[in-house]
Symmetry: D2
Subunit: 113 residues, 4 copies
């Protein structure tokens, strides 16, 4: 399945439950932030979270995967109800980032330009 | 471009700028929340944000698209450095949601089960 | 009890549980965002949340109070471990806001100046 | 000034600018999350943020203070428009935390009970 298939599945899920009335952009942004907060909760007290740690703590990786998925699902849903092509938006943003954070100016430092 | 191509582009972007050292999972979660906060800022004082409103306020749609893109980029990056397949995680989460929020129990109400 | 008393109570709570090692500024910011996300979850699907609604839905007001309290507790804790006087910071910020959003320019519109 | 004085100052600020119409609970929660996101942005790429670091990087402490203040201001405003006594709510929450995370069970570990 690709991102368009997922978007369609999410839309059908909402439609079947008569949830479209809840899915205003503002409500969905609140929901995304709720899930992003759960993502923060997964890692908040952990000392170091990298692939090595996650290889030995697979339940944390699963928690991370679940919360990333929840954020992703609301992200796709917001894009859908707003008439935004999220893949295209991301590519355009990467181009803007490329212009703003040139390798020359930004090598080794992540400060806002 | 699909989501894997985007993931690769983001990884190359970080590598070229020597930003991998900043991209720990915890730092990236903070960055995602920063961008999700900007998403909230776009809609916070608007009365109603739907397709009709966005058709007449295309600069708001562009702001939304930019902020959704920023959240998406960090989401993909976190999945990458954590060794998580985000599309697979989302499909599994949709399956869990489907089991948890059956049409029968959840029709017309979005309460947590 | 005032805000200083509360700050002291929170510090003692952490000390007694040997939680100071978890309470780095970055970890606490993640924790605050987790609680702010729960605050978002309380209101995300509700149509209108005002005093009248909350008078008839006292369990929602209690949920709101609990989540606001959690955000507040982490806010005070971050200020404490960072050596920041939160009441003074808020007063200074109100002064900056007053200069930036003059009544003349901002009457009836909340746009960023 | 204490927290009640601050609450009153914030209410007057909104009233004078005719901003009460924007200050629904849901809008204010979005605004709080926007500011909490800015708080995350301040620390996201920093390696270690503690008193020692902040003593040598006073501009970071000022940024932190400003963002904490913004979160605090919206927190107080939400409490006000919701009819919630934030200090009382925090004290009650500390009592619940005390019951839930006893020193015996929680010494040295911050896991949810």
């Amino acid at each position: 399945m690709d991102i368009n298939g997922l978007q369609e599945e999410i839309a059908t899920f909402a439609l079947e439950r008569d949830w479209e009335k809840f899915h205003t952009v503002k409500n969905l942004v609140l929901a995304l932030l709720g899930e992003a907060g759960e993502l923060a909760s997964v890692v908040q007290w952990l000392e170091k979270v990298d692939k090595e740690f996650l290889d030995s703590n697979t339940e944390v990786r699963q928690d991370l995967a679940d919360e990333l998925a929840d954020v992703f699902i609301y992200l796709i849903r917001i894009a859908d109800v707003s008439g935004i092509d999220i893949l295209k938006a991301a590519q355009e943003k990467m181009q803007k980032n490329s212009d703003r954070y040139t390798v020359e100016k930004s090598f080794g430092n992540a400060e806002k330009q």
